[in-house]
């Protein structure tokens, strides 16, 4: 029986529930090991005048202090644009920017050394808002554009036009395991580094680059992460490189594990965006033209910002056909930590922009937003080309809209919401349906490759190594199931090994939802080669055991751990025995598989291409209840319906959907980053940064998906599911916007992301106190004194 499609437990679940799973900082300390941490910039922007380490060097227990001058390689790197330094040289660009690496025997000495470092900085005026960056023309990379149709004609033909500003705040990844690494020095300047990273290859490359080593001298191993969400795609490199620097220089094992507060202060998160838009539509609400300019806050260095912006621009259409469209986008350089990958990777900001527009068109025309959405939804046979020219195939959105609306009685409940709001003096309700069409594949073509190493041992057990990293999402479990089925063996006989650059070279990050797609395909490719050899071997062996059949590999069948010739199914050999036979016949029982996604391409010069192999789709209906006096928000009910192709592991997929949704809900509701006017993050721990609590889960939460077999482009007909459900969380926010439309005096309700209780209450108050208000555009939230 195949195990693909079965609800197997996560391969680490038993270790997780008993506390036996090992994370980087759980690794037993090595003899002579040093603790590593760093001293960082206390100001957002300035020139370093003087750095005095003499007192810090004298702190008992301190073994070494390193600055950029101690790097034997280059102190400049970056995945897209090389503009980032590991350790500040003469200038600092954000609060939290590392300046000095501290190595000590114990944690107390690190604390004291941090306090003993004396620095003088000539402060410069920081850029702390997108408006300031635009005024100063402080940008990263170039402005990009996606255009289609005739924008002028589109607006000329519009009966109505809305112009507006969309603003979203950032989001902290809040992975529970902070950035961490342990580096072990080896012979001949070699290093073995255990890193909590989604991207072991990048950690390897950056370490080699800054230390002046060859990549072959650095092995990076990732057993697992305690959460990643994109935050360990690029930004795990810095702490790992610091540990590597210390190990390399002192020849002692070196361990770093950031405190939660430092982690939140020094690393970036989801990009704040400030988008202006102009949308034209007819009397029914059908969009004729959309022009939008997206500004993202990239922070001080490029990191992945240009790619994040690109994905935002490729997702502003979301589920909706835009006949005439002009999307431009610019990354702003500001004095915050570099913002980076975060589940959705720009998708959420693009999707929220258009879902916001859908609510506004509905409010403007006094129609049901569901009708506006379905009216504008991509067609199956026509109106099915995206602004960037990719044909949207296998479009399940019309079905998902319709089916979910029926299942959750959307229309009836909308009427109930209206009745409630007409009567209640204490509370306000809103209901909204939003959708997701999420493109799967890296926009950057060359990243769409993966390798796998499959080793079969003489007892028939199998080790698999791929470039995928496990952060809880279950990629290892998926690959285990895929591999088990290739040989029809028990999944318990398959172990997915820690990710290591020694086993798999030049890997892509575990990102873009596509780790199983890419690495699972590579693993299967390796298995197929092994199976071919084993088939040959079995054919020969079985023929030798029987007089009535000739060797015929084409007749060999693998089934339930047995291998037989289908002309003589009664005579079989077990997989374990076959492996021994193959070994004795000197058949290689190890194989490497490689996979490169076919048919994807992208051109930024034209803003067009076929960047995605396929689209994962879904719809969500959220109903919210708002306290009219406090702005407090409760999510009463959520219904999700997705298309995820054929599920490899339903339990794992379901967990990705519920987890993604709640993380998206957090982004649009309670997760608010508060900064001071100095550019200092004030909400740097869970006391002040509020991710959803178990009590915030919807009172009714229905999760389901349709099964379909048409995604033949991907492994086993599956679809990637890591990121898409996060964007269904936006329905909670559009439901708030819907609720506000009942009290906004006929004006379009304005609302920022996140819709905190304060944001909601202050909007309601404004409408109540100033009935004429409501037309002014949104502004960024104020910085605190």
């Amino acid at each position: 029986m195949p195990v693909v499609g079965k609800n197997l437990p996560h391969d680490s679940a038993r270790g997780h529930v008993s506390g036996e799973s090992i994370y980087v900082d759980d690794m037993p300390p090595a003899k002579n090991e040093l603790i590593v941490d760093f001293f960082y910039s206390p100001v957002a922007h300035g020139k370093i005048k003087k750095l005095d380490l003499s007192a810090a060097r004298k702190v008992p227990g301190v073994v070494a202090l390193f600055t950029h001058k101690d790097l034997d390689g280059e102190n400049l790197f970056g995945p897209i644009i090389q503009d980032e330094v590991l350790l500040a040289e003469d200038a600092v660009h954000f609060i939290g920017q590392p300046i000095v690496v501290i190595a000590a025997d114990n944690r107390a000495a690190i604390k004291k050394a941090r306090r003993a470092i004396k620095i003088e900085i000539d402060e410069l005026k920081p850029i702390l808002t997108i408006d300031e960056a635009v005024a100063a023309k402080s940008f990263i990379g170039q402005t990009r554009a996606i255009r289609r149709g005739n924008i002028k004609e589109g607006f000329d033909g519009a009966e109505h036009v809305i112009e507006g500003t969309f603003i979203n705040g950032g989001q902290q990844h809040f992975y529970l395991e902070s950035q961490a690494a342990v580096a072990y020095p080896g012979e001949h300047d070699q290093l073995v580094v255990h890193s909590s990273t989604q991207n072991p290859t990048e950690v390897q490359e950056v370490i080699a680059h800054v230390l002046g080593l060859g990549q072959h001298q650095v092995v990076v191993i990732t057993k697992r992460m305690g959460g990643g969400f994109g935050g360990k795609e690029c930004q795990a490199t810095h702490p790992a490189a610091m540990a590597a620097l210390v190990a390399h220089k002192t020849k002692r094992p070196a361990r770093i594990s950031l405190s939660n507060d430092d982690d939140m202060t020094v690393t970036g998160g989801r990009h704040p965006f400030q988008n202006t838009y102009k949308v034209g539509f007819d009397r029914d609400g059908r969009i004729t033209a959309l022009s939008a300019h997206l500004y993202s806050d990239g922070g001080a260095f490029a990191d992945l910002s240009p790619a994040v912006l690109g994905r935002a621009m490729c997702h502003i259409d979301n589920a909706y056909y835009l006949p005439n469209v002009e999307i431009t986008g610019t990354v702003c350089r500001t004095n915050y930590p570099p913002n980076t990958a975060f589940r959705g990777f720009g998708g959420p900001q693009g999707v929220a922009t258009i879902e916001n527009i859908m609510e506004e068109i509905a409010a403007y025309l006094k129609k049901d937003a569901y009708d506006i959405r379905t009216l504008n939804c991509y067609g199956i046979d026509d109106r099915n080309i995206t602004p960037y020219g990719q044909v949207f195939k296998n479009n399940y959105l019309p079905r998902l809209f319709r089916e979910l609306a029926e299942r959750c009685h959307y229309k009836k409940r909308l009427e109930e919401v209206k009745e409630f709001n007409a009567i209640s003096r204490t509370h306000l309700k809103g209901i909204s349906m939003s959708a997701i069409k999420f493109g799967i594949s890296f926009n950057t073509k060359f990243l769409n490759q993966a390798s796998a190493l499959v080793n079969i041992y003489k007892d028939g057990t199998i080790q698999v190594s791929t470039g995928a990293t496990e952060m809880g999402q279950g990629v290892n479990t998926n690959i285990r199931q895929l591999v088990a089925d290739e040989f029809t063996v028990d999944p318990e006989d398959v172990i997915i090994m820690p990710t290591s650059t020694e086993k798999n070279n030049n890997t892509s990050a575990t990102a873009a939802s596509s780790a199983t797609d890419l690495n699972g395909s590579a693993a299967v490719a390796a298995c197929r080669k092994l199976r071919e050899r084993l088939t040959e071997c079995a054919a020969e062996y079985l023929a030798s055991q029987m007089t009535d059949i000739e060797k015929s590999p084409g007749n060999i069948v693998f089934e339930n751990g047995l291998i037989y010739d289908n002309r003589r199914p009664d005579k079989s050999v077990s997989f374990k025995d076959l492996v021994v036979i193959a070994y004795h016949r000197r058949v290689s029982l190890g194989e490497r598989g490689f996979y490169a996604t076919q048919g994807v391409d992208w051109n930024w010069e034209t803003g067009s291409g076929t960047p995605f192999l396929y689209y994962t789709q879904g719809c969500s209906v959220a109903e919210v209840l708002i306290d009219r006096f406090t702005g407090d928000l409760r999510v009463k009910r959520v219904d999700l319906l997705m298309d995820i192709g054929r599920s490899i592991n339903p339990g794992i997929n379901r967990g990705q959907i519920t987890g993604g949704f709640i993380q998206g809900m957090g982004w649009v509701t309670t997760e608010e980053l508060k900064y001071s006017a100095r550019g200092e993050l004030l909400s740097h721990s869970p006391t002040t940064y509020k991710i959803p609590n178990i009590q915030d889960t919807p009172e009714i939460f229905n999760v389901d998906w349709i099964e379909n077999d048409d995604n033949t482009l991907n492994i086993k007909g599956s679809k990637a599911v890591g990121e898409p459900p996060l964007m269904l969380g936006i329905s909670v926010w559009t439901a708030v916007k819907h609720a506000l439309s009942f009290v906004s005096n006929g004006k379009l309700p304005k609302l920022r992301i996140p819709a905190t209780n304060e944001e909601i209450l202050m909007r309601m108050t404004q409408y109540a106190k100033h009935p004429g208000a409501g037309d002014e555009q949104l502004k960024q939230p104020a910085l605190l004194p």
Binding site: H10, S12, Y23, L176, G472, D696, L761
Partner: protein
């Protein structure tokens, strides 16, 4: 004088002196004992990843409750039994809670999982069945970033209850209780590298020590002090832990007063309020998390004196009386005159809070408590309020109002109270009272909310009170 702590970890006796005494339990477990199943994320009691069970002797048995080990320092744990995630398997096999977490995909990245398993095991220690709300309430103190909680809730509701063995069954209590008994009555004084910790056995010893050591920092539940040590550079040389003083942990009604002992936990107060004062229970349910309520005390909430302390507005309108015990004996002080400024208390160096006496309200009084925070649960208030009124025949006879989060201390609103008294209980009255309330307060903008938000809440809460208490007369209140 004893110079060591005695406690058990997963059934093994530990006697600890020296510097370790001044460590958080989570540090001791992870780096001292290699018990790395206990994770530390926030180090301030706001995520629950470090949750362990603490057992204390009670009535011939050991009672266990979940706490955050990052903000429990060893000196708080004398005569306790610590059970960590490593100590929850049954005969080397996963227990039914762990099995359900595996089967229902309750773990993804696994980092919050040990804390969640410990908290869930604790739920089933005292419950033979649990509904969805019970599971949520047991896990309010445990953040998970991966699952969206739904798989964890399903795991919690699908535990094979018939096979659950309580912590007390796993760890026979007799030997521990005997050992605790030998130690609890003997005060401990532990000094190491310039730090001193005193664990008195009686109030008299505590008062005497505090008087002789004026800089002493008192630690009871530690939910505030320990956060300040971990995060805000508090580094006290002299610490006194009240954990072994007997007879201060009761919550009981005496002479029409609710009497809360100086060591009584917020959980004990919540347990009492559940049946006897549902309005208070509503706020206690929002107060922190089970882990925080199990450790924190009402006296600590008072002594810490934060203007956003969740119990203070209630205590203010109830006109609670705080009993201080000092070298000169006992003294009673109305809580309304206890605070002299931001975290400044009218308290002599030798005094400790031994009891809180709260006059029980009359039947004809209406009391409503409000807490507004960015997130409903496990969040610190941006604004808090207590409103206590007697309304008869449509007229307001008396009004007592206290707001938190609107100034350096919790404030009574005398002008608004005076305005309300004698007025008709009507929407316009409360609307005007709200506008007046704005003028009596001086909120600031901070990370929890802006000044304007707080002013608006101060105004709106009057209307909310009126409309919600008028429920029944009004067409729709929810």
């Amino acid at each position: 004088m004893r110079d060591y702590l005695l406690f058990y970890v997963n059934g093994q006796e530990h006697r600890v002196g020296g510097q370790d005494v001044f460590s958080p339990l989570s540090t001791y477990l992870r780096y001292g004992q290699g018990c790395t199943g206990t994770k530390v994320v926030c180090a301030e009691g706001d995520c629950g990843a470090c949750t362990v069970l603490i057992g204390r002797a009670a009535g011939g048995t050991v009672e266990y409750m979940p706490v955050n080990s990052c903000i429990q320092f060893l000196y708080q744990l004398d005569c306790t039994h610590v059970v960590t995630i490593e100590g929850l398997k049954v005969e080397g096999k996963l227990n039914p809670v762990q099995e359900a977490m595996v089967d229902f995909h309750g773990a993804q990245c696994g980092y919050c999982t040990p804390g969640i398993v410990v908290a869930l095991c604790s739920l089933f220690d005292c419950k033979t069945q649990a509904d969805e709300q019970d599971v949520k309430d047991a896990l309010t103190g445990n953040l998970c970033r991966c699952t969206g909680y739904e798989p964890i809730i399903r795991a919690g509701m699908n535990v094979a209850l018939e096979r659950v063995r309580s912590t007390g069954e796993l760890y026979p209590p007799q030997e521990m209780i005997a050992r605790f008994g030998e130690h609890q009555g003997r005060p401990a004084l532990i000094a190491s590298e310039g730090k001193t910790c005193f664990i008195p056995a009686t109030v008299e010893e505590a008062v005497d020590f505090k008087e002789k050591n004026p800089g002493t920092v008192i630690v009871s539940g530690g939910t505030d002090v320990c956060v300040n040590i971990n995060k805000r550079g508090l580094d006290p040389d002299v610490i006194m832990s009240l954990s072994n003083i007997a007879g201060l942990s009761d919550v009981k009604v005496e002479n029409s007063h609710l009497v809360v002992g100086g060591r009584a936990s917020l959980a004990a107060l919540a347990d009492w309020a559940r049946e006897e004062m549902p309005e208070l229970y509503k706020i206690m349910w929002l107060f922190g998390s089970p882990q925080i309520r199990n450790a924190g005390t009402l006296a600590g909430n008072i002594a810490n004196g934060s203007p956003i302390a969740d119990t203070l507005p209630w205590l203010f309108v109830m006109e609670a009386v705080v009993e201080m015990t000092g070298p000169a004996g006992k003294r009673l002080i109305d809580i309304n005159s206890l605070y002299k400024g931001y975290k400044q208390l009218d308290m002599a160096p030798g005094e400790i809070i031994t009891r809180i006496l709260i006059p029980l309200p009359e039947n004809n009084e209406t009391i409503r408590l409000f807490k507004v925070s960015k997130r409903q649960n496990l969040d610190i208030s941006a604004f808090a309020a207590a409103i206590r009124m007697t309304i008869e025949a449509g007229k307001i006879h008396s009004a007592k109002l206290a707001y938190g989060g609107v100034g350096p201390v919790v404030l009574r609103l005398p002008k608004t109270e005076a305005f309300l008294e004698g007025k008709e209980a009507a929407l316009t009255t409360f609307g005007n009272a709200g506008k007046l309330a704005r003028e009596e307060i001086t909120p600031i903008s901070d990370v929890r909310g802006s000044k304007d938000f707080r002013l608006q809440l101060a105004e709106n809460i009057m209307l909310k009170f009126f409309l919600e208490t008028a429920c029944g007369r009004e067409p729709v209140c929810r």
